[in-house]
Amino acid sequence: MRRVGVFVCHCGTNINGVVDCEKVAKTAAGFPNVAFATDYKYMCTEPGQDLIKNAIKEHNLDRVVVASCSPRMHEPTFRACIESGGLNPYLFEMANLREQCSWVHANNKELATVKAIDLVRKAVAKVVKNEPLQKSRISITKRALVIGGGVAGIQAALDIADAGNPVTIVEKEPSIGGRMAQIDKTFPTIDCSACILGPKMVDAAKHPNIEIISYAQVEHVDGYVGNFEVTIRKKARSVDLKKCTGCGTCQEKCPTKVDSEFDMKLGKRKAIYTPFPQAVPNKPVIDRVNCTKFKTGKCGICQKVCPVDAVDYEQQDELIIEKYGAIVVATGYQQFDHSAYGEYGYGKYPDVITGLHLERLINASGPTMGKIKRPSDHKIPETVAFIQCVGSRDEAKGHAYCSRTCCMYTAKHATLVSEKIPGSKSYVFYMDVRTPGKGYEEFYKRTTDEYGAQYIRGRVSKIYEKGDKLVVRGEDSLIGRPVEVEVDMVVLAVAMEPQSDAGELARILGISVDKDKWFTEAHPKLKPVETHTAGIFLAGAAQGPKDIPDSVAQAGAAASKAIGLLSKVEMETDAMVSSVDESRCSGCLICKGICPYKAIDAKMIQERVGGKMVERQVASVNKSLCQGCGACTVACRAGCLNLLGFTNEQILAEVEAVCL
C-alpha cells in the first residue's frame, strides 16, 4: 500500500463556489492508498504549502495529489513544495478542478462535484504508479545565433556579446540594418535614424564577439536547447569578402542599372552593389539575375577594374554548420502590398505611395537627395493626403489587427512634409489615433496644433486621378458628411505583416506562428520573448507589430534570457524521458526512425543465453536528447519502450479510474 496525501484547494470561491471541495476531500479519503485527505482555501499560498509539508511528515506520506488549478499553472510550484517536504518531486500529480471543472461547469454544481471526484480518483490512481525520477544534465554550447540583422537583431547581438558570449548574426540582405536603415527620421524625437543606427551597426561589426554573416539564410536546425546544430546557407556573393576593400570602383564602372530595393524602386542601383552607402559589411554583392556577365557571359568589367581581384564569378553557395546554445529570432516584418485595394487604384497610381517610399523621398541620401518630389512628374507636392489603416483593421482586404506604428509615423510624416515643403498642406484620414507611448500623444498634438495637419476621421473609400491631381473621397465622420480633397500625392500607412517566409522559418526552428503568421510567444504576458521551444527567443516585429523603442526593449529582454541560459555550464533536462526494457527489446530499431530528436540509437549488450555470453543489439535512449514526446513508446512492437512520468501503466490506471 502507498501512503498518498490528497489536498483539495478552494482557490477562494473559484473552485469551491461550484465544486463541493469538502465532499471531494471526504470521498478521496476513502480511496485505496489514500492515507490523508483535506481541503484548504489557497493551497499555493505559504500556509497552504506548509500544510502539505507538515502533512507529509505527520502522516509520513510517500505521494501527493493536489486538486486545484491546471498543472500548466502550478505543477512546478507544488513539485518544489513536496521536494522541500522531503519527497522526490515526481511523486506528485495534480487534478485540474478549476480550468477544467469549476470554471466550465458553473451551471451544474452537482455534476461538477461528481467530475471533480473522478478527476481526483484519476490523479490518485496515477500517482500510485509514479516512481522517483532524476533529472540528467547536459553541457551548453556558449554561443548564440541571432537571425535577422535589423535593429532588434543588432541590439540582441550586442547585449549577448557584451556579456562575453560569441554571437553570429545571420542576415538575408547584403547588409545589416533592416528597415530602420531605410527610415529617415524616428518619432517622437525626429532624430536621424542613420545617426543612431549607424554607430550600432559599426559596433556590431567591430565587436570581437560578433560575427556577421550577411546575404545568408538559416536552412536547417537540429538539436535542442543548449546544443542547437544550425546549417546556414551563405549565398554566393560573387565577391571575396577577404580580398575586397570596399573601394567601390566596381560599382562606379558597372554599366547595368536596376531599381534599388532599398530605395523602394524610386532610385537605381548597379548590378554589383551595396544596398546603401553606410552598409555593413560595406562590400558589394553581384545581383546575378540582372548582371550582364551572368545573363550573357559578356561584360566582366567589375572583375577587370577590381584592384585586388576580389570579384569571383565562379563563387558557389556555401553551407556552414555551427553549434549554438541559444537562438534569437529577429526577422522583423514586411510591408503590406496595397495593390489589394482596387478603390485606391490597385497600386497603379504612381503618386499613391507608402510610408517607406516617403522615407526614401525625405532621406538626404535617397533618390531625390532629400527633396520630396512625387514619382510621376517630380513635381513638389503642395497638398498631401495621408491614409491610415491601409491593410490594418481591415478583414476584407488585409489584416484584422492594428499595426501599432502607423498613427505615429503618419504624424511624423505630416510634420516632416510641412517642414520640408513650406506652405504645404497635409490631410490625414484616420479611424482612431493611437498614441500609447512616452511623448507620443504630445507629438501628435504638435502635428495638428503647430504643423497644422488637418485630421479627418473616416476611412477613405476611393482615390482617383483627375488631371494631374488625385481626388480622395472620405467621410468626415465627426460632422457626418462626405468630403473630398484634391491633392498632389497620397501616402498610405500600410500595415506591417509577417515576412512571407515566416511560416517556413517557424517550421525549420520548430516554433509556432499565430493566425496572422506572427511568431507566437510562450505566454502573452508572462513569457513575451520566450517561445514554446526552449532556447529559442523572439525579438522585435517578428513577434508582432512594434516600433523601434519596443523592438529594442524586447531585443534586450530576449538577450538577457539567452545570456541567462548561456551563463550555465550545464543544464538539467526533463526527467520525463523514454527508457528501454532491454530484456524485451528485439533491437528492431523502428523507434529510431520515429524519434524526431535522433535520441535513439543502437547499442550492443552482453547476455547470458544457455550458459554462454552472446552479444545482441538493443535500442538505447540518449536522455539529454530525448524531449519526452512518447512517439517511440507507441511504435514499439514489443512495448518495451516506456515514457517515464507517462508510463503505459500510469495512463491505463487513469483510464480505469475515470471509467469506473
Binding site: G342, E343, Y346, K462, Y464, E465, K466, G467
Partner: protein, 289 residues
C-alpha cells in the same frame, strides 16, 4: 448554343435598341435565343426594397418557366440579370427560401438552370478572338469610355467582372479597334431611378459621370444597362438646360450596338438611330455608316 431570352420591360420600351442589337449580335454569333413565354417584370429595385420575398418571387417565375425548357437564361438588362442571379443564388443557397418562393410563385424553380447577361455571353464566354473574327469594320480608334454601373459588378458573387476596375467592355472596344479610355468612374452609380424619382439628387450623379467622361476625352460612352443608358442619353439635354456651362453631346451606345455595327450591320438597323444624343456624326467620323 441556345438560351432562353429574357428581354425585360425596358428592352421592350425605353431600351429597345438593346433588344434589337442583342438579337443581331446573337444571330451573328450563332447563338439561338428563345424568348421566355409570357415572361413578367423582374421587379427591379422597387420590388426587393418594398417586399423581400416579392423581390425574389418575381424573377423566380421567369426562371421556373425557363427551367421547364431546360435552358439557361440570357438577360441583357443589368437590373434584370442582377435580380435573377440574386434569386438563383438564394434558391441554390437555401432549401427554405426555395420553398417560400415556390409557395408564392406556385411554380417550383429548382435552380437547375441559371442566368447570364449579354456581356458575359457575347464577350466573356465567346472570347475576344471570336469577337475579332466576326468584325468586318473597325471602330478606327474611336475614344470610348466603358461604363459598367453597379449591377453588373456588385455584389461580387453576382458580378461578372472586377468590382473597382472591370475590363470586359474595354477589351471588347479594343478588340474592335477602338480606344478604351481608362477612367475612374466605370462603376460609379448613375442613380438608377433617382433621376426620375428624385430629380436633383439623381441628376448630379449623371452629371458627374458625363463630365468625367468628357474630361478624359471620351467621344462616346458604351454601356450594358438600359437604365444607365436612359440616364446618360436622355438626361444630357436636361442637364445642359439646368446646369449652366454644361454642353454635353456625348453619344451613348449599348456595347451590342457597337458590336453589331462592327460586325457589318447598318447602324440604323442596330438601333443607333433611336438615341436622344445623335450618333450619326461620330459614326460618320469613323466611317461606320
Amino acid at each position: 448554343m441556345k438560351y432562353a431570352y429574357y428581354p425585360g420591360c425596358s428592352l421592350h420600351s425605353t431600351g429597345i435598341e438593346y433588344d434589337i442589337s442583342s438579337k443581331l449580335v446573337a444571330k451573328r454569333m450563332g447563338i439561338e435565343l428563345k424568348e421566355i413565354p409570357d415572361w413578367n417584370c423582374c421587379g427591379a429595385s422597387a420590388a426587393h426594397t418594398t417586399n423581400h420575398m416579392l423581390g425574389l418571387a418575381l424573377p423566380a417565375r421567369n426562371l421556373a418557366i425557363a427551367e421547364k425548357e431546360g435552358l439557361d437564361v440570357l438577360a441583357p438588362c443589368a437590373a434584370c440579370y442582377n435580380r435573377m442571379k440574386t434569386t438563383e443564388l438564394a434558391v441554390k443557397a437555401s432549401e427554405q427560401t426555395k420553398q417560400k418562393i415556390a409557395n408564392i410563385t406556385e411554380m417550383d424553380y429548382q435552380g437547375n438552370i441559371g442566368v447570364k447577361t449579354a456581356l458575359e455571353v457575347f464577350v466573356k464566354d465567346a472570347g475576344l478572338e471570336a469577337v475579332k473574327a466576326l468584325a468586318t469594320k473597325t471602330l478606327g480608334g474611336m475614344k470610348v469610355a466603358a461604363y459598367y454601373g453597379c449591377l453588373l459588378v456588385r455584389p461580387h458573387d453576382v458580378g461578372i467582372d472586377d468590382m473597382e476596375n472591370p475590363m470586359l467592355m474595354d477589351d471588347m472596344v479594343t478588340a474592335l479597334g477602338g480606344e478604351a479610355v481608362q477612367w475612374p468612374f466605370k462603376t460609379e452609380c448613375c442613380g438608377a431611378s433617382l433621376p426620375t424619382a428624385k430629380g436633383k439628387v439623381g441628376l448630379k450623379l449623371v452629371y458627374d459621370i458625363l463630365s468625367m467622361a468628357q474630361s478624359v476625352g471620351a467621344e462616346a460612352i458604351v454601356t450594358a444597362c438600359p437604365l444607365c443608358f436612359v440616364n446618360l442619353d436622355m438626361r444630357q439635354s436636361d442637364l445642359n438646360k439646368k446646369v449652366s456651362g454644361s454642353s454635353f453631346k456625348i453619344p451613348i451606345f449599348y456595347f451590342t450596338e457597337l458590336m453589331a455595327i462592327a460586325f457589318g450591320e447598318k447602324p440604323a438597323s442596330a438601333g443607333a438611330g433611336k438615341h436622344f444624343v445623335n450618333t450619326s456624326e461620330i459614326l460618320a467620323k469613323y466611317n461606320l455608316k
